[in-house]
Amino acid sequence: MLETVTLERRQGAGAVRAALTYAGALALGLALSLAVLVAAGVPTGALFNELVVQVFLSPAGLARTVTMATPMMLGALAAALCLRLKFWNIGIEGQLWLGAICATAVALYDIGGPLRLPLMMVAAMAGGALWILPSALLKMWLGVSEVIVTLLMSNIAFLLLQHLLFGPFRDPTFNFPTSPVFGEAEKLARFGWGDVNGGLVLALVAVALAALALGRLRYGYAARFVGDNPKAALALGFPAGRVLLLSILAGGAMAGLAGGVIVAGTEYRLTQAVGLNMTFNGIVIAALARNAPGWIPLVALFIAGLYVAGASLKVFYGVSEGIVLIAQGIILLVLVTAQFVTTYRVRLARGVVA
């Protein structure tokens, strides 16, 4: 099959080729996604209004988008920090749920007095880091695939979440399985612009710190070496194991913080719907941002925009929210497929064409 062409690995793609490939893939992915939307019954004429005006240009819409993007930035950091060391964190949801659970526990059991809110955030990060720890250790000690372990840990976390919501955390005055609503001291401050809250500051600070650590601290250099060639890093005396573990735990902590930001910033209680699809969102955003923290906020806004638009399309045109997942899947698939153009050179096979 395809015997008429041979592939060669490119030594290095020029910046122009790389940029064009990226832009082309993004455009193609978007176009295909729009085609899916139209096929699902959204009139072509309404697309611009629904996907751009209502989501990014109207103040209320932009506020919704920014609020939605806040935990996504943290989820994307959770994916990117791990992926820079070639560790596939496919259990972001699990770490997020643990973070949300820990933050909720701090709130429900009134721990920490005046430091309640900061403690909730710290607990959220600790919960996320704790939940990723087994996959990190199993990978480092025994070479067990982190792909499967992080996935399974998510399933366990979800069951734990349900257990708590139907049991110890349940708000008895309410029919649905949710925790009681938090008190005022347990909520992140709002800025008077929709639901945009202090979580945004936390997320942006986290992004800035990650960018600083990777770009300027000795840790970042070590991480690049360990991620690219652990053997060489060891021979140069870099503490490869410590760097790897630190990065993975930081990733888990970011996912946990996302959970904390959701419960303390927007939901004000723990529910089953917290952080749904965040694993995939995080990985898509990290892939689109090429694991560079600096690009994450922008890309997160874009993906959050899809969700906000999806919610309104559901109301106005009866389009399922599953469409948003499809659109993201298409964009990611086109993007990774397009790497072909920058990785390989196609040549006609010898003897077929002179």
Partner: protein, 513 residues
């Protein structure tokens, strides 16, 4: 350009021609790898082909096996002009290659590998037919090897026999063996030579590529020598040539080897290795190895690859757990991390640059600055990229690293082999280097780059550092070393004066001394 005049010895009287190559040329970029090469092979003949690394042997054989096409020249097989369009065409023409790196699926049994290979036959025969053919080939060639255990569990020699069976099963009449004895023990090599003679007696034509003159004399009918892409000695009867003729043809008219360094005054003992052992799983890579090295000295460690060199180097650096003792300037290194050992002045130039020394996708500048970044020399917490680039620019200039455009921002994998090695040297041969372990530091480099690497190592020694030069290249070891040891199956040995000559080294390599 006139070719060196050579008298071509006739093949075995009356033997039909199996293969003729006329004027084969091949160019890669600016580099003329093969320059009008003629070659002649008769049925029933073992034709030894000699040449140093980079002489063009593999290119010639790749043309024969259809991996490359020649830019010019003509190939005749059994008297008929042919064009070898690809690997399958080569197989169809009856050419069988036994590469140095075996093409066997490791978890498969020998039989499964043979069945898989049979799938490449033009008219794919039925399973039972393949079974019969395997039995017939095994019987005819008298190759005995267990075909029903996974190949991974067989010895290298046994795997090699399966490779030969594979070639025969595919109907090879011309067999090309690419340095087949390099990976074998002496007894195994002898057995292989006998087998090769048997196969020739059955009418196969065999090209036997080797470095070792002993094997040429023992098993060859005729011999040819390639040097820098030209056939400098074409199809001589083995009886008519002497060892001297062959080594002169291989190396050229310049004096063979002369020790460049002698009589330097050695300093105090720098490195003292005693009773070092490295085991991994069941295998012992290094056993009871001892070695000492003085400041201002190059200690050459010769030996055939895969005899524990890598494991020894990694144990000294602290990358591998080991028993025994390693002391640097009298200080016991046991229990120290790689970083701590490097702090004491230990440096490492590994054999495989891209796998063990460089981060290929990380920028040139960061690769150059890696150790300085790690130790905090470029900033205790914050490392400004501008400082990294400054350091890189200085190194690029003083080591003449070519291809470092854009302030060293490009990934280091884009550099050529010689320039990549300069990056490693620039990093490892700093002022604080006390002991440099250089493992095959010139492997795969061109002549100019080799000379450059040697110069830099000698400079480091002149500054008072010590170099442990681990190399398979005997000429390199002889030319640079003050003292020489030999590693063979994980054991290190030398002569009482520590200066074995070529013949003594040969014996030590065989573990005879």
């Amino acid at each position: 350009m006139t070719k060196p005049v050579q008298t071509v010895a006739p093949a075995l009287p009356g033997a039909p021609s199996a293969l003729r190559i006329f004027g084969a040329s091949k160019r890669f970029g600016d580099h003329l790898v093969l320059d009008g090469v003629d070659f002649d092979l008769a049925a029933g003949e073992v034709h030894a082909l000699l040449g140093e690394n980079g002489a063009g042997k593999s290119t010639l054989m790749n043309i024969l096996s259809g991996i490359y096409t020649a830019d010019a020249g003509r190939i005749e097989i059994e008297g008929a002009a042919v064009s070898i369009a690809g690997p399958s065409a080569a197989v169809a023409l009856g050419i069988g290659m036994v590469h140095q790196h075996f093409k066997l699926v490791q978890p498969f049994t020998g039989r499964e590998n043979l069945h898989l290979a049979a799938a490449g036959l033009p008219l794919v025969p039925r399973r039972a037919v393949v079974e019969e053919q395997i039995a017939a080939v095994v019987k005819r060639s008298a190759l005995d090897v267990n075909l029903d255990v996974p190949v991974a569990r067989l010895s290298v020699a046994e795997q090699q026999r399966i490779e030969i069976l594979k070639a025969l099963l595919l109907g090879a009449r011309i067999l090309v063996l690419d340095e087949p004895t390099a990976v074998l023990t002496d007894a195994e090599a002898d057995r292989l030579l006998a087998l090769v003679r048997d196969l020739a007696a059955q009418g196969h034509a065999i090209i036997f590529i080797t470095h070792k003159l002993r094997e040429v004399l023992a098993a060859g009918d005729r011999v040819s020598v390639l040097r820098r892409g030209r056939m400098v000695l074409a199809s001589h009867a083995v009886e008519d040539v002497t060892r001297d003729d062959l080594s002169r043809a291989m190396i050229g008219d310049q004096e063979t080897t002369q020790r460049r360094r002698s009589g330097s005054t050695p300093g105090p003992v720098l490195l003292e290795v005693t009773g070092l052992g490295v085991r991994d799983g069941g295998a012992a890579y290094v056993s009871d190895a001892g070695l000492s090295l003085r400041a201002g000295e190059i200690h050459g460690l010769a030996g055939v690859g895969g005899n524990g060199q890598r494991e020894l180097a990694e144990a000294i650096l602290g990358l591998r757990a080991a028993t025994g003792q390693v002391a640097l300037e009298g200080r016991d290194l046991t229990g120290l991390s790689v970083a701590a050992r490097r702090r004491l002045g230990l440096r490492y130039v590994p054999a495989d640059r891209s796998a063990d020394a460089l981060a290929p996708n990380v920028s040139l500048a960061e690769n150059l600055a890696a150790t300085l970044v790690r130790t905090g020399a470029l900033g205790r917490r914050m490392v400004w990229p501008s400082r990294v680039r400054q350091h890189a620019a200085a190194m690029v200039q003083s080591y003449g690293i070519a291809g470092a455009t854009g302030g060293g921002r490009r990934p280091v994998r884009l550099l050529s082999g010689g320039n990549a090695q300069k990056v490693v040297l620039a990093r490892e041969l700093d002022r604080d280097a006390r002991l440099i372990i250089a493992h095959s530091p010139t492997r795969g480099l061109d002549v100019a780059a080799c000379a450059y690497v040697h110069e830099r190592l000698l400079e480091a020694v002149a500054r008072g550092a010590g170099v442990l030069l681990i190399s398979e290249d005997l000429e390199e070891v002889l030319a640079l070393s003050d003292r020489i040891s030999v590693i063979s199956r994980g054991r290190i040995a030398t002569t009482p004066d520590g200066r074995p000559d070529r013949a003594q080294i040969g014996e030590l390599m065989l573990g005879h001394a």
